[in-house]
Each structure stands twice: as C-alpha cells, then as structure tokens.
Symmetry: C2
Subunit: 157 residues, 2 copies
C-alpha cells in the first residue's frame, strides 16, 4: 500500500458535504477547486481503506450503489454528454470515487480530465459562486430522494 | 449520449479473453497495445450500454462484483502498489472498466495513466510476449477460481 500521512480524507470532508450515511459520504468539489467540471462529486468511504477489494462484498456493493446513484442524479441535473467514474488513489490511497460530468466541448474531451487540456474551457465549465451553491443544493436534495434512509447533511448553504 | 459508430466493443473482444459469462467479459490488454501496465485488464459489458446508471441495479452489482474480483486477482498476481479503476467511455461510450496495476516507479505514478509520463518506463512495465502469455494464463486460471459459475474461455494460449 502506498503511504500518505496524514491522510487528507481522514482529516477533512474532501469537499462540500451533500449526503452521508454511517459508511460513506458524497461531496461536491468546492468552487474554485477543480471546479471546471461543475457537478464533479466524490464518494468517499469513511474508513481508511486502500482498495475496493479490501472492503467486504456487501460494503463494496453499498458504496457502488451510491456511486451509481450519484451518476444518475448528475445526469438529471447537469445534462452532461458523458459521466466519468474513477477510483485511482495513487496520491491518496483511501477509497474515494470521482464522478465527473463531461461535455463534448469541455476543455479535455474526449481525453480524461487527468490528461492535458485540448482547448480552453467552454461556458458550461464556468459557474459563479452563486450558481455553484444552487447546484449543490439541487444535488443534495435529489440525493436525499435517490438514497432513502440516508442521513442528509447538506453543508452547501 | 456520445456517438461512436461502429462501436469497437460491439464488433471486437477488446483484448485477449480471460473470462466471460452471458453478460460481460474480462480481457487482458494485448501485448504491445497499452502494454506498459502488465496485467491491465478491462471488464466489458456485452450489450451496448453507455452509462452504469443505464444498467438495472442487479446488472450494475453483477458487473462491479466482477470488477472488484479482477482487482483482487491482479493484486495476488502482479504485486502492484496500487490498482486504478475507471469507467470513462468518452471515446467508446459502451460500458467498460479499466483495471490498471500501478507501481511507485512506473512511468506515470502518481499521475493517472492518461496523464503525461513523468519518467521512462521501469523494468516491471516491460514483458516479453512469452511473459505476457504466462501472465494471461495465470489471470485466467485465478479468475475461474474467483468467479465460480463462470464460463471460462481463455483465449490466451
């Protein structure tokens, strides 16, 4: 396992909290921080676990159900052309999923968001602080509906 | 949805077949084709579906169980420092998962394999055709054990 001490996902929420239960949380990437993909969320396992296959089968199933529900909510909310899902963890080996909305005319499409940009950002990629706040509220509300039995804790005010 | 016609994952296996069932298949990236991450596998949904959230909950669960089992088998087989999982599909919007073993001294670590290389490839990243064939046989055999009820069809001879 790759060391990362202290782990930033053990000591910080990792974004603006949209939803959580006892095992994991959904956060919206903060405005101004990798914010050029509006709606970019992370689903973070609360315990410090390095790989998906370190989880029990039912834990992995629970986590992936939430990842797919976040994808579904993003598709309803931001009208993306594609959603990218990834769990890399090379720098922070604490299981967390990236759920990234993509648009055909975004700065990197069809390359990954981790590749070099291919063109300048497009208008869909820029949100004001107020638009970002409203998007967070919409996502938090829809996640509450999509994930019954949740303990919603939206911190996006 | 992003168009891709004809879809290469509908018309081709997408790699060397290691395991399959009626719904999906596991392939090893062919020698010489993105081969600098030995053990790099893809899990490909057989039907032409664009996003994970287009699958039913039980289909998504079935697919992710296989992705996590492939990760587990790779960890047993190639002694990677990290495994990266991703479903992007920007160029080929047909659900397929990348399961990529990573090493601390690999050409891109800790960046993603889609970013620019940071250094030359390390010895672990190079396999001869014969080493690659043997790795494929090992992975196919372990997947058969990990995924009971499968229809193993290793094409790596």
């Amino acid at each position: 396992m790759v060391a990362s001490t202290p782990c930033p996902l053990c000591s910080n929420p990792g974004g603006e909290l949209l939803w959580q239960d006892d095992l994991c949380r959904v956060v919206l990437i903060a405005h101004g921080d990798e914010a050029y993909f509006p709606g970019y969320c992370r689903v973070i396992w609360n315990a410090h676990i390095g790989e998906m296959s370190d989880l029990t089968a039912s834990q992995a199933q629970h986590l992936m159900n939430i990842v797919v529900r976040v994808e579904h909510v993003l598709r309803q909310t931001v009208q993306a052309d594609k959603i990218n899902l990834a769990s890399l963890g090379n720098m922070t080996p604490h299981v967390h999923w990236h759920i990234i909305p993509r648009w055909r005319d975004d700065s990197h499409f069809p390359a990954s968001t981790w590749a070099a940009a291919l063109r300048p950002i497009c208008p869909k990629q820029e949100l004001t602080q107020e638009q970002w706040r409203q998007l967070g509220m919409q996502l938090a509300s829809r996640l509450q509906n999509e994930l019954p039995g949740s303990h919603p804790s939206p911190s996006v005010q």
